[in-house]
Symmetry: C2
Subunit: 245 residues, 2 copies
């Protein structure tokens, strides 16, 4: 929580409030403290953080650009809700970018990085045995992140987490199916092999398919949900237009 108790002076000027507020709101969204569709009350938030509305508005404007908030004229900022169509779109984009990351990484990945990925795979195996879904989820994210970092493409390293964050705004969480963890980690192992051998084409293909497989699993959970939970109604047929491959 942001407190200015330790700094009664008017303006610290050693750091701007805006990035702090931005990260704070991101955190609130991440933890579910702010849930999709809810309105961000500028005054309340400013009061709670002990600052005025100006910096809060700037932070919200920044968050609007990266897709975490949306604005309505004279009504302020709202936490974005990601539709099923958008979530599926994001999977396709992530697939393309992740494939690119693999193509780049395979050419320049270091042995240290390879060892790191190997360790993560081992820990994921352990999490599968436990079974510990939460830990697997974290490790899986870290594996993806490290692959992107290995690409040494700074723009990609910057862009990829934004897409992940936006995907997390999809209304239903916990998209990791217990049964799919083993399959997923097998894919990780194949990816590691391709990276180790410096096979750019294979790495790109495997990583792209890894995300698209995730998309397929995601689609399946959606269908399951709409079957068991009839209140939500049938799936929008538009979703089926996004063909895989």
């Amino acid at each position: 929580m942001l407190r200015r108790a330790a700094n009664p002076a008017r303006t610290p000027r050693t750091a701007s409030f805006v990035p702090l507020i931005q990260r704070e709101i991101e955190r609130m969204i991440g933890t579910g403290e702010l849930t999709g569709g809810t309105r961000v009350n500028e005054s309340t938030l400013a009061l709670r953080l002990g600052i005025s509305r100006g910096p809060v508005r700037e932070a919200c404007r920044a968050l609007e650009q990266i897709g975490l908030l949306r604005s309505e004229l004279n009504r302020g900022f709202f936490v974005r809700e990601v539709s099923t169509k958008e979530a599926l779109d994001l999977y396709d984009i992530r697939a393309g970018l992740f494939g690119t990351a693999g193509r780049l990484a395979a050419a320049i990945v270091t042995t240290v990085q390879l060892r790191g990925l190997e360790e993560l795979i081992g820990e994921m195996d352990a999490a599968i045995e436990a079974p510990d879904i939460a830990t697997f989820y974290t490790l899986n994210n870290e594996f993806h992140r490290q692959v992107v970092v290995a690409s040494d493409n700074d723009k990609l390293i910057e862009l990829y987490p934004l897409l992940e964050a936006e995907l997390h705004l999809f209304r239903r969480r916990g998209l990791v199916l217990p049964g799919s963890m083993r399959t997923s980690n097998d894919e990780h192992k194949a990816i590691l092999d391709a990276l180790r051998q410096g096979d750019c084409t294979a790495a790109a293909r495997l990583l792209e398919r890894h995300i698209l497989a995730g998309k397929a699993r995601f689609l399946r959970t959606l269908e399951d949900d709409s079957a068991t939970d009839a209140r939500r109604g049938p799936l929008d047929p538009r979703h089926l237009r996004s063909k895989d491959r």
Copy 2:
């Protein structure tokens, strides 16, 4: 130019100033009115647009997020300069995304859209004959845009132009080599064929390679420049780490 002369009332409230300012700054950057590295003076800009600094700051904060501006504490906002490394990184990202666009588009592209692409290719041929580099440049951009639109991936349609805009911040413009126009349009024809046949894999591969070919041409112009214009010094060896394919 934004003027409020027609609206002397204090607050119109039929639209927020922020998006208008944002687009105005984008335009100024696009036309080169604001060039890379220059400082964005909030007071001056606000005065010129006839509004106060608040909305200007919000617009700048938004532009910071999409990579057109950067901020320094107590020094304000500056027009970003895109380094050679970043430009090359952007080419790789665009290649991956463009390939994704092609994979998606091939499955659902309409005959109307195909006809539109075909016409653009024809016009580009004419521009090559003229020769009219500026027109070719515009048509080429439009061709790329239409392929992305054909993917029907809204997030991609939103994301792709941002990357284009950022690439335009690279310090040297006019990266279209006269000699490469014909090659480039030949690639367009192959892409159109793949799309017409609904061949997702071929379309993805061709589009990805089309951008990577652009990256290769880009690299060549850099080398030419550094050879003829020795004052800039030799290329940073890091650039060579981004291997193609």
